[in-house]
């Protein structure tokens, strides 16, 4: 079972990386969260039934782990700046316009709550409301209302 698990995770690891990049502000946090998500997926793997798509189940476990992850009282990263975190490391690799967009994206996402981050990630991944609702276990109506609020928030941050 372990071999099957590792293979399937290896093929879909992009999901975990995306979740980590949305929820973490430093490489250290990112490594910890990646490992925690991997452990939770392994622990929950026997209970995975093919009723849902594997990626849907994987998103669900990864997002639940990220939202409920317990951070000890480490030094809190500077949430207003963009000098920290994975986004900062990455922006140097893009052209000026993309760099600006990624910085804005980071600033906007940093200010969202845990649930909002999960919805916005799935929105950015072009998931439909129905699938977002299935992954998060909340109603489509809630997703729609929440998404409208998030869009307003994002616009506000971007127009600042």
């Amino acid at each position: 079972m372990e071999k099957e698990f590792v293979q399937i995770i290896s093929q879909n690891q992009g999901i975990i990386h995306k979740v980590c990049s949305i929820y973490c502000d430093s490489e250290e946090d990112r490594r910890d969260l990646f490992q925690e998500i991997l452990a939770q997926l392994w622990k929950s793997f026997p209970s995975f039934r093919n009723e849902a798509k594997f990626t849907t189940w994987m998103y669900r476990v990864a997002l639940n782990t990220a939202i409920t992850s317990f951070k000890k009282n480490k030094r809190q990263p500077d949430k207003t700046g963009i000098e920290v975190g994975n986004f900062q490391l990455a922006v140097e690799e893009y052209d000026h316009e993309t760099e600006e967009q990624i910085k804005l994206l980071h600033q906007a996402i940093t200010n969202l709550s845990g649930i909002e981050k999960s919805i916005v990630l799935l929105y950015l991944e072009n998931k439909k409301y129905e699938e977002i609702a299935e992954i998060t276990g909340i109603t489509q109506n809630y997703v729609r209302v929440k998404m409208n609020r998030i869009k307003k928030k994002l616009k506000k941050y971007m127009n600042h």
């Binding site: 590792v6 290896s10 990386h17 409920t68 893009y94 999960s118």
Partner: protein
Amino acid sequence: MELKDLKSAWDKFSSNDASKHQLGEEAIYEMLKKRTRNFIERIDRNIRIGVVVLILLALFFTFDDVLLSSDMSYQATPIWIQLMEGAGILFIVGSFVYFLISYRLATKDYSHSNDLSRVLTSIIRILHVYRKLFYMALGILLLILSISFISGMFMGVELKADELGTNVDALSTAPPMIRMIAIGVVVLLLVISGLFFLFRWGFRKLYGNYIFKLKATLMELDEIE
């Protein structure tokens, strides 16, 4: 910048980021092997340790009461001290059974494959049980401390009375003895409250923010539904 631009920025960023952090199967195997206990597993370990400590305390308390204290008594231990000690043992055993049931109920539904609301509720329940265990263990510690202190004081008065060739009643109503008992009780109360507030502060510092964050997330979910 429009929202659709965010999507294109995200696409560029996420594909680059994922390929940069890409792990091979060997690395994933290694990570699985080296994985450390997660938060709930650590809580689980602490609860198991807590229960073992409770059992040991109960055994110690019974052993001390039945074997040691009875041999050391000059006179028969007064009925009120025996009752107090008996109630202490019952309290410890009762707490032990209560925790096993509460913890079993709290962990029954816990799984990260559930929907977020159920995951949050399960973790909050587990933390509440953990908090109860913590306070009960603290309560038991303080109870043992108090009972030992009161028994010790009584023994002291008994010894002194024996030394002076008088009885306990006469000695314990003498003004110097009343003053000593009063000082003893004040010291006991100070130590107990000091320990209680110190441990409570420690627990809140460790888990207070986390519990608050989980509750806030759950409230956010309940906001519309």
